[in-house]
């Protein structure tokens, strides 16, 4: 649980200064110290999870716990780069541990071969941020509700073929800072003789401005009522990915997994059916989401994991360091179009 107080242990070692030099020059020493004091839970070590793990470990968090109950399959070897090819049949989190640790020995990396569903509430409370991938809607809603109450930052994300999303809940009152250039006072005439030539504004003269943002829960974000006049009016500017996400979450709820290439024919039929059901239940036209998506949401595409994992990783870094405006509150990536949008869903 972080507040705006600086972390203990102000000393940054020479090793850290050398290794983190290029990022300290970007986000500053204070941010790096906060990262260094943060513990993160990452659920799910598929393609997206591996990317997030890499990004957070490289950033220099205090600890990363990787939790996954799934086993390494043939697909896993194609999807992620932490798991050795010889690890088939092993637990995914445990198989990823060694390579993950090598990324940065200064981070405490741990692996837990367990289901997130089976963890007691207490388990989640030991972290500063929780990142959920490969999770069902119900699990994510439950964990989000629990963590948000305790000021723990929650992130959710997943990749489905060419598509991916990430969601954040930083709580109803999230405080952060933004670095802005200092305003230059106009120089007045000096008393003594020749007027001094004004030196240009030093680009390093900046000031930290405090800001606050408010986030809603995942439940609220997903349960937007599209039957109101206001919602209908905003529909035109709403990324259609939002509805695609509902379809894919429903698929997982029903089948206990994401669409898989091995059963692509059957899954495609189911996806179209779910699309019809979901849109109808929202009071919307089924043409809102054309059939097209069905061929493109299978398996995890590595480059899509890289993009979504990069955005998600950076949001976690920002939130832990409490610096720079967070994306509010869902990011959608469409790999077919190269489009990446951020939009807010939930009560105003």
């Amino acid at each position: 649980m972080i507040d705006m107080i600086a972390k203990e242990d102000p000393i940054i070692s020479e090793e850290e200064a050398a290794q983190y030099d290029r990022q300290i020059r970007l986000w500053g020493l204070d941010a790096q110290k906060r990262l260094r004091g943060s513990r993160v839970l990452l659920v799910g070590l598929g393609g997206l999870g591996a990317e997030v793990a890499k990004n957070l470990i490289l950033a220099g968090v205090k600890g990363l716990t990787m939790l996954d109950h799934e086993k390494v399959s043939q697909e896993s070897c194609r999807a992620q780069f932490l798991v050795p090819v010889t690890a088939q049949g092993e637990n995914r989190a445990q198989a990823s541990l060694e390579r993950a640790q090598y990324l940065n020995p200064m981070v405490e990396v741990r692996a837990q071969a367990e289901r997130a569903e089976d963890q007691p509430d207490d388990f989640f409370l030991q972290f500063d941020a929780v990142c959920l991938t490969c999770c069902s809607r119900d699990l994510m809603v439950r964990v989000d509700q629990l963590c948000s109450k305790h000021n723990i930052k929650v992130f959710c994300g997943n990749v489905y073929g060419y598509y991916g999303y990430m969601f954040s809940d930083l709580g109803p009152e999230y405080n952060y800072v933004e670095e802005k250039p200092k305003m230059v006072k106009p120089s007045g005439d000096t008393n003594d003789g020749p007027k001094a030539k004004k030196a240009k504004v030093d680009p390093n003269e900046t000031t930290m401005v405090k800001k606050t943002a408010s986030f809603c829960s995942l439940k609220e974000a997903l349960e937007v009522d599209w039957t109101t006049e206001k919602a209908k009016a905003g529909l035109k500017r709403t990324p259609v990915d939002y509805f695609l996400l509902h379809v894919l979450l429903k698929f997982r709820t029903d089948k206990g997994r994401d669409p898989a290439p091995q059963s692509s024919g059957e899954d495609a039929r189911l996806l179209r059916q779910i699309r019809d059901d979901v849109l109808e239940s929202m009071g919307l036209n089924r043409e809102l989401l054309s059939d097209d998506f069905v061929s493109y949401c299978f398996s995890e595409m590595a480059p899509v994991c890289a993009v979504v994992g990069g955005v998600l990783g950076q949001e976690v870094v920002k939130a832990l360091s409490q610096r720079d405006a967070p994306h509010k509150n869902i990011f959608f990536f469409d790999g077919r179009k190269g489009n990446g949008v951020v939009d807010y869903f939930g009560p105003q």
Binding site: D21, R22, V85, M301, A306, G313, Q314
Partner: protein
């Protein structure tokens, strides 16, 4: 339902496993890119990088670990990738892509080339090689939180050099030598000083007061008189700085007093300079020494990085002394005629520049800076993180898939913003522009007009400054279109050395002359029209006619986004095409021609 291999259609997956691709660079973008390529199913990959691994790479170049520091990036990247994908067929080259071994035939082996570079010279070169070989090129760059990807295909899209890019920022000699007003002027001066004392002496890197400064004189005759006087006045210019330093045994106190006392006092005699500027205040070594030793050394609180602290004047005097003593020994160890090369990661070299720059800043009433900040500016460091590179490398492969599937028309330029724009976009895809008709690289018969003084421009300057630096040639051959085809420059080593010191006018080149310049490796011919001028600004050797002066190119009209995801979006306002801004951190462009990142990015 189509047959899938993972997320991809079967035919695409098959072409991936057979095609050959080239990755140029194994650094921040390169590591991420290699990982994405093998995981996506690309099997035959060649990667080239001339660099070795440094500890500062480890925050993002994740294929490298601490134990690899000092080793070849390309080699270690290959080994690390094979760890998680042993069936990948990777060839690694620890070499420069500008090596003539990598000729057009070499490039033709590939279905796709992807750049993961950090400097313009190499980008220009690869651009030309891909045009010559007619191979699609995916170009990209990152700086901090920003990044960009684009696709270049001969005849279909703009090439990398179609849009003029602002040339690197340089400062006039008199600003550096006489009237610095910003910290960067003092840092440039300190780097020049390093070269004059310890490195390769360069006539364009003078540190002594510039007596020929037009601002200093009340009339032209006075300028001349000053210039003449300095020739005979031993104090200022008679012997080279290095010789003089050697004659004093590189005595720090003597060097200090010359640079920070005597030379400053000389500047003060040029009183016109100080009519409207705050005059510099000379320092005296012995005075500072006695003051410094009397003042108690305060407790240095290590709250931040040690490097981020700003010392007092005496602190920098001591740093000046210690660094000189170290550098002096290094020179001695290397023997006669030895030269040191400045490197931001070489501690005494950076110490020296930090000390010298700060002392000069203090003299000119500027707030002194920490070693950390000076390292950024002197070393042209671009801050970099893993996530930006991961995102951009992901986008590169997405574009690559389109290329390999033969879907070039769906390729896009994609900009990564720090925050979503007004249309909620964090990633902004833009349709690719067609080639510029008068591009001096990819047009069918490229031609350009260069304004210069034929009486004062040497053949060597034409070769190095104009053809190589400005027009990106690596090994130019030049002949004059004078009916005789007179050879001016030959790329064969030594053949035309005798011409180097001569002026263009010595060869009959005058206003309206045409020079045919070839780079055979790049398969590139450029016709240069000479426009003779005697009224160029001070310190300006030449101008390319038609170049917009030092600003970003205007946004082309008629740009549309790829059709937006938002359902039924019929926004009438088309977004302006984001302007590529060459200056990642706002100020720190590549002053010293020593590489450094020059990512195009945009904050639309």
């Amino acid at each position: 339902m189509v047959q899938l291999v993972g997320s991809l259609r079967k035919e695409v997956a098959e072409s991936l496993s057979t095609c050959r691709v080239l990755v140029v660079g194994a650094g921040g973008i390169g590591c991420e890119l290699l990982k994405n390529l093998v995981l996506t199913g690309f099997k035959n990959i060649e990667v080239i990088d001339l660099d070795i691994i440094d500890v500062s790479n480890l925050n993002r170049q994740f294929l490298f670990q601490k134990k690899h520091v000092g080793k070849s990036k390309a080699q270690v990247a290959k080994e690390s990738v094979l760890q998680f994908c042993p069936t990948a067929n990777i060839t690694a080259y620890h070499d420069s892509i500008m090596n003539p071994d990598y000729n057009v035939e070499f490039f033709r082996n590939f279905m796709l080339v992807m750049n993961a570079l950090d400097n313009r010279a190499a980008r220009n070169h690869v651009n030309r090689m891909c045009l010559a070989a007619d191979i699609p090129l995916i170009e990209s760059g990152t700086a901090g939180y920003l990044g960009q990807v684009t696709v270049i295909k001969k005849g279909l899209t703009e090439c990398y050099e179609c849009q003029p890019k602002p040339t690197q920022k340089t400062f006039p000699g008199c600003t550096i030598r006489n009237t610095p007003s910003e910290p960067i002027h003092c840092i440039v001066w300190a780097k020049y000083l390093f070269n004059q004392l310890f490195g390769e002496e360069d006539a364009d890197q003078e540190v002594s007061p510039d007596t020929a400064d037009p601002e200093a004189s009340w009339n032209p005759a006075e300028t001349e008189a000053r210039a003449m006087a300095s020739e005979t006045d031993g104090d200022i210019k008679r012997v080279s700085t290095k010789e003089w330093a050697r004659s004093t045994g590189y005595d720090p106190a003597k060097l200090f007093n010359k640079l920070f006392k005597d030379d400053i006092m000389y500047l003060l005699t040029m009183d016109k300079l100080w009519k409207k500027r705050k005059a510099p205040l000379p320092l005296d070594w012995h005075q500072l020494e006695s003051q410094g030793s009397r003042r108690p050394q305060g407790e240095v609180k290590a709250v931040g990085l040690k490097d981020q602290q700003v010392l007092g004047v005496w602190g920098y005097c001591q740093l000046f002394q210690h660094s000189i003593e170290t550098l002096r020994s290094e020179l001695q160890e290397k023997g006669d005629g030895a030269e040191l090369v400045w490197d931001k990661d070489d501690a005494p070299a950076l110490d020296f520049v930090t000390a010298a720059a700060n002392l000069r800043m203090h003299i000119f009433s500027m707030t002194m800076k920490s070693r950390f900040d000076i390292k950024s500016m002197a070393g042209n460091i671009i801050p970099a993180i893993a996530t930006t590179n991961a995102i951009i490398a992901g986008l590169i492969v997405m574009e690559g898939l389109k290329v390999v599937s033969g879907e070039l028309e769906s390729c896009r330029t994609i900009f990564l913003n720090k925050h979503p724009n007004l249309r909620k976009k964090l990633l902004v895809p833009c349709i690719l522009d067609p080639p510029c008709a008068n591009c001096y690289v990819c047009a069918s018969r490229p031609e350009v007009t260069v304004k210069l003084n034929v009486l004062k421009t040497t053949v060597l300057a034409l070769q190095d400054r104009i053809l190589k630096e400005r027009f990106g040639m690596v090994a130019p051959d030049v002949n004059i279109e004078d009916g005789k085809g007179t050879i001016l420059i030959s790329s064969e080593e030594g053949e035309t050395d005798a011409n180097n010191g001569k002026f263009l006018s010595d060869f009959g080149i005058r206003n309206g002359s045409r020079l045919q310049s070839d780079d055979f490796l790049q398969d590139y011919t450029l016709l240069i029209n000479v426009l003779h001028a005697e009224d160029l600004e001070k310190d300006v050797e030449f101008e390319v006619v038609g170049d917009a002066p030092d600003k970003a190119p205007p946004p082309p009209s008629n740009q549309e986004d790829a059709s937006s995801i938002a359902n039924g979006n019929k926004d009438s306002a088309q977004p302006l095409r984001p302007r590529p801004i060459m200056d990642p951190s706002g100020d720190w462009t590549d002053w010293f021609g020593t590489g450094g990142c020059d990512a195009r990015y945009c904050n639309s």
